[in-house]
């Protein structure tokens, strides 16, 4: 066990725990018992807080572990994360401000709220909410996998023979603490902790990208070593391990994965929660110009995967490649800082994801279907409880099932969440689509995506072995999510034409065109919450 690294890790962990609880007092509004307050931080965050919050939210511990791990395992194919995050920002520049505006005018907390208001369809709204919940749960579980990777490398928890309770105790403690301060502070806790997380991450990356290449003899030597390693033929598959540059065959897969993932990212409930917590429309547009800083970091981080090869790291579980690289390369105390960065990097998104999932349940299942007359206090209470349940669920998932199950589900989650794109982004720009057509398109996309992913085999798994399969009609290998999305869009368009011709009843649209361009300060736009004297009945 690495005592110094562990001590540094525990120090940072305690520091953010204190911050998490104190966060409840940060920028507190008078009226704290509403979902806007607990679940969206009072919708009051400015440019920089939003930047840290979104960065802390989107670039998760799992990202830090998995992206370089993918590079370590197979080379260039794993680098798709960089074009993916490049494409996200021009994309959200076009539609996110519209979502912010309409949500502020109508008090929407989730994307399903918007879909219900826009299309007057509780069924479509429920479909979006369920997809969001399904996609978020395994994502939370993967954050735990990230923490576990770090704990494993530090040697905490003992070996295979240790009693399961002792072995999992550190994880249980970490999650218990996380659950407690999310419960008490809501979105403010991850927003505040995100400052620490991102600062640590940036420091660790900056040091790693300079210090490790010096030790390994420069980037030329690193890529040479990686190129040699990838060229070696794997006896199990009869193919080379990977490549430094994608060949002709891999290019469709590379491009479709980048595009599909970019389209999917802001369909995730936790991305939207962080977006809606911002103070104004401008904050979001401005953020699209500063968020790419994180993409730069992600690219550098990906290169760590090559360094792990050049440094001769040999791990059976590729997820451990980067923590092991830190352990081997850095002095003990700095390895502790790096581990803390990853560990805290798991806490921030896990908190935001559980809040987002809780909001979805409360607004679109509890309030829409179970208790339509729920007061804001009741909504907040339910949301807080559900945020706990969601985390317990994720914990049980990770502790009882094989890690690959969580990874498979997360892969499916990406395919699934992309199927809500037509309803959400389509709805932001046009009311032309018919609600039933959107629902049918969603169903087709979900079924096709799940079936296609089930059919993918890998050397280690019979099903869900990857996220790419042959695109019907084109014959190239491409991202299943994107193929499903195209099918979804086609079905939606065709059925809309048919349903309109047949005169199927259209839902009531409660929004008006000016709602989509409203900004803070315009009439009817909710900015900060009403002060306590106005009561909770807003």
């Amino acid at each position: 066990m690495n005592g110094v690294a562990l001590a540094v890790f525990i120090f940072f962990f305690l520091a953010v725990t204190v911050m998490g609880f104190l966060a409840a007092r940060w920028r507190r509004a008078e009226n704290e018992h509403s979902l806007d307050e607990w679940g969206l931080g009072g919708r009051s965050f400015g440019t920089w807080v939003t930047w840290f919050l979104l960065g802390g939210d989107l670039y998760t511990a799992y990202t830090f572990v998995a992206v370089p791990a993918a590079i370590y395992a197979a080379g260039s194919a794993g680098f798709f994360a960089v074009p993916y995050t490049i494409l996200v920002y021009p994309l959200i520049f076009t539609f996110l401000p519209r979502l912010w505006s309409v949500s502020h005018r109508h008090g929407y907390v989730t994307t399903s709220d918007f879909v219900r208001g826009r299309f007057g369809s509780r069924g479509l709204s429920l479909a979006v909410a369920l997809t969001g919940l399904l996609a978020t749960m395994p994502y939370i579980a993967l954050q735990l996998v990230g923490i576990q990777a770090v704990l494993d490398v530090m040697g905490v928890g003992g070996g295979e023979t240790t009693h399961w309770f002792v072995k999992d105790l550190p994880l249980l403690i970490a999650f218990g603490v996380l659950a407690a301060y999310t419960y008490s502070s809501g979105l403010r806790a991850p927003a505040l902790i995100a400052f620490v997380k991102d600062t640590l991450i940036y420091v660790v990356i900056a040091v790693a990208i300079i210090y490790i290449p010096i030790k390994l003899g420069g980037f030329g030597a690193i890529f040479d070593a990686a190129g040699d390693a990838f060229a070696q033929v794997n006896p199990a598959t009869g193919k080379p391990r990977g490549s430094l540059v994608p060949g002709e065959m891999g290019q469709w897969g590379y491009a479709t994965l980048a595009l599909g993932s970019a389209l999917a990212l802001f369909m995730y409930p936790h991305s939207i929660t962080a977006t809606l917590s911002s103070r104004s429309r401008e904050v979001i547009r401005r953020n699209t110009t500063i968020l790419p800083l994180y993409s730069l970091m992600l690219g550098l981080l990906a290169v760590l995967g090559f360094m792990a090869i050049a440094a001769g790291i040999k791990v059976k579980n590729t997820q451990l490649a980067i923590p092991q690289l830190f352990e081997d390369m850095f002095p003990d105390w700095f390895a502790g800082v790096a581990f803390a960065a990853i560990g805290i990097g798991a806490l921030v998104p896990a908190a935001i994801m559980s809040i987002a999932a809780a909001n979805l349940f409360t607004r679109n299942i509890y309030k829409d279907f179970l208790k339509p007359d729920a007061t804001p206090e009741q909504e907040t209470k339910v949301s807080k409880l559900v945020s706990l349940l969601v985390k317990v669920g994720a914990l049980i998932f990770v502790l009882t099932m094989d890690k690959t199950v969580a990874i498979n589900f997360q892969l499916l989650g990406g395919i699934w969440i992309l199927q809500t794109f037509p309803a959400l982004v389509g709805g932001l720009f046009t009311r032309w689509f018919h609600r039933w057509a959107l629902l049918a398109g969603w169903a087709v996309g979900m079924v096709y995506g799940t079936a296609a992913a089930y059919g993918v085999a890998s050397p280690t798994q019979k099903h869900f072995g990857g996220s790419s399969a042959e695109i019907p009609g084109i014959g190239e290998i491409g991202y299943i999510g994107l193929t499903a999305f195209v099918l979804n869009a086609l079905v939606t368009v065709v059925l809309t034409v048919v349903l309109k011709a047949a005169g199927a009843p259209d839902g009531v649209d409660e929004t008006s065109p000016s709602d989509y361009t409203a900004d803070a300060g315009d009439p009817g736009v909710r900015t900060e919450l009403p002060k306590v004297t106005e009561g909770a009945g807003h």
């Binding site: 490049i86 494409l87 520049f93 030329g220 540059v245 491009a255 110009t289 790419p292």
Partner: protein, 74 residues
């Protein structure tokens, strides 16, 4: 309404898609930069280029909105 400024904004936002999805244009190892194969440094460069383009789109859009509000009914 389509104005020249809006066309430029659209081009700024569309350019990264063309550049990044055309994988064939950058799937090669040479020329390397400081030992890093072309494939990697080119995409990293595009992080900066697309940031600059999005920032430009943001400035133009802000100006466009000001002109529209200033020159509108009021």
């Amino acid at each position: 309404m389509v104005t020249p400024v809006r066309v430029v904004i659209a081009l700024c936002l569309a350019a990264p898609f063309v550049a990044m999805l055309w994988v064939g244009s950058y799937a090669k190892a040479d020329p390397a930069f400081a030992g890093i194969p072309f494939f990697y440094w080119y995409q990293m460069l595009w992080v900066l280029v697309s940031t600059a383009l999005t920032a430009l789109a943001y400035r133009l859009w802000q100006r466009d909105q000001r002109v529209r509000r200033g020159g509108g009914a009021k």
